[in-house]
Amino acid sequence: MNREKLNIFLFLLPGAGFILFFLSSAFVLTILQSLGLFALIGESHFTFDHWKMIFEQEFRDSFMFSLKVGIGSSFGTLLFAYPIALFLRKKGFGKKTLGSLIKIPLFIPALVVAFLIVNLISYHGLINSIFMGLGIIDEPIRMLNDQFGWGVLFIQIWKNIPFQLLIISSSLATIRDDLEDAALNLGANKLQVIGRIIIPLSMPGILVAVILVFIMTFGDFAITKVAGPVYPTSMSVRMLTEAMTFQEWNRAAVMGVVIMATALIFVTFYTKIAKILQENAK
């Protein structure tokens, strides 16, 4: 190793090395413990036994619930964030104010967001009161701790719109105006410009935005614990119960591996689909 390389290595060590040391050891430990190795208490031996839990009904329910929340929140947020990003793309009077207003939820901690929205959607909360007052419904709708998880979805979407908006906006900003003008001059209408030029070119931004929100919401603990149903619980809630309440660290590790693997599979799968769509658009 020559001197320059050694220097760079030494420079990378404190920052990147620090992060990698802790994360990779946590990562390796999770995998080893899911295979029965490295138990801190009790005996350890290699076994696939702990993996049998993935056939349990409760595990499946939790997995499906988390998957629903993850997909629902990531695409549900996109449904709001993408049109807003398109609208804010061109400069205009008042749009800067609008842009900074939209950003506000980004600065509010997740647990506080949960509390803010809980007040609105609770049984006697604002939304139910308004609907009852207007005579739209006769009885309050149960939106909090409901079986489906509408409360969780509401909170996640409220919280993640600005996050996706930022990512998508910066990817929209890289699209040059002359492409759009050229298409318009050649007789394309607005919808065609959006469908054929803007969406395909902003695909990288959409990808990152959806993937990050999926990973965050699929593995969410706090918001589901506060606003989610009593049963099924999310993957992370169940994982923590296994570890902290029952001290079943091997089972918790299996769940940890499943959460990370699902995130990884989602990333690969979704990237592939997006690529195919992008090719077709061309």
Binding site: P14, L29, I104, L111, G219, A243, I259
Partner: protein
């Protein structure tokens, strides 16, 4: 023809203006209604409870605030939160500086991989990382310790610090450095007159992000700190989860939220570049 297009453009601009105004009003409702309700809940008078079907509380008082400060651990939690945050920020800064310099200014094999790997703490599912980091921490004897919390919070904030510092280092024009060298500047002078002034805004932004990340950090604190240490988020969680006391939760929510918003508004005023997009946008 010219006149005609001008009229069309004018009308179009007006329509867009109306849509913008409509969105602004919607957005104000979407954000401020929940916040106002939290404020109202924190001001409910204990002797005149706010219950269905009252739309607004009948009497407002500061009794809930007094209660939270007198009978809960909020003061100790505030002390813990606000002492961990600066320490974690300082540690993150010291550790990030050399790495950010190398990634921002040097060419080396595997640079892209390293710049993606440093984002892992915010990309990996938070609770999985927290739970198994707690195992690593207990092996190292850091679990349930103050130092452990500082290291954990630093780890969670470092991706922001690194990302922003890398951008700052990368944006220093090479000619400025060359010019300084041509004028006979030694390494120390280069650091003092070129690097420090040009990295300072990024350092400021990165510090605010790390500070706020630390104040908000819940997963890791909950797993490695509870029950020895309580921070503001873990107290809020106990009010929301285990025994839901809406008025107390309202007070703690505001204690957690208001400083963040003030800090970020100040930061945004003071910085010319949009660091928020710089740190999140180009992930």
């Amino acid at each position: 023809m010219n006149l005609y297009t001008e009229q069309v453009l004018k009308r179009r601009r007006r329509i867009i203006g109306i849509i913008t105004a409509f969105f602004i009003i919607m957005q104000l409702l979407w954000i401020f209604v929940p916040v106002i309700f939290a404020v109202l809940w924190s001001l409910v008078d204990p002797d005149n409870p706010w219950s269905y079907p009252d739309t607004f509380p009948k009497v407002l008082s500061l009794a809930q605030w007094k209660y939270v400060f007198e009978y809960t651990n909020i003061l100790r939690a505030l002390a813990t939160s606000y002492s961990i945050a600066p320490l974690a920020t300082l540690l993150a800064f010291v550790l990030s500086l050399p790495t950010a310099y190398a990634i921002g200014r040097k060419q080396f094999f595997g640079k892209q991989i390293v710049s993606n790997l440093i984002l892992l703490p915010i990309i990996l599912p938070g609770m999985v990382v927290a739970l198994f980091l707690s195992r690593v921490f207990s092996m190292l004897g850091l679990s349930q310790t103050y130092i452990g919390l500082v290291i954990g919070h630093c780890l969670m904030g470092m991706p922001f610090m690194l990302k922003i510092l890398i951008t700052s280092f990368a944006s220093i024009p090479q000619d400025v450095i060359d010019a300084a060298e041509n004028l006979g500047a030694n390494t120390w002078e280069k650091i003092r007159h070129v690097f420090i002034p040009m990295v300072l805004p990024g350092l400021f932004a990165g510090s605010i992000f790390t500070f706020i990340t630390s104040l908000e950090e819940f997963n890791l604190t909950f797993v490695i700190g509870t029950p020895t240490f309580e921070t503001v988020p873990t107290i809020l969680f106990s009010f929301l989860g285990y025994h839901f006391i809406r008025t107390n939760a309202a007070v703690v929510s505001l204690i957690l939220m208001i400083p963040n918003i003030i800090m970020l508004l100040v930061a945004e005023r003071m910085m010319k570049t949009d660091y928020l997009s710089a740190s999140l946008g180009k992930m």
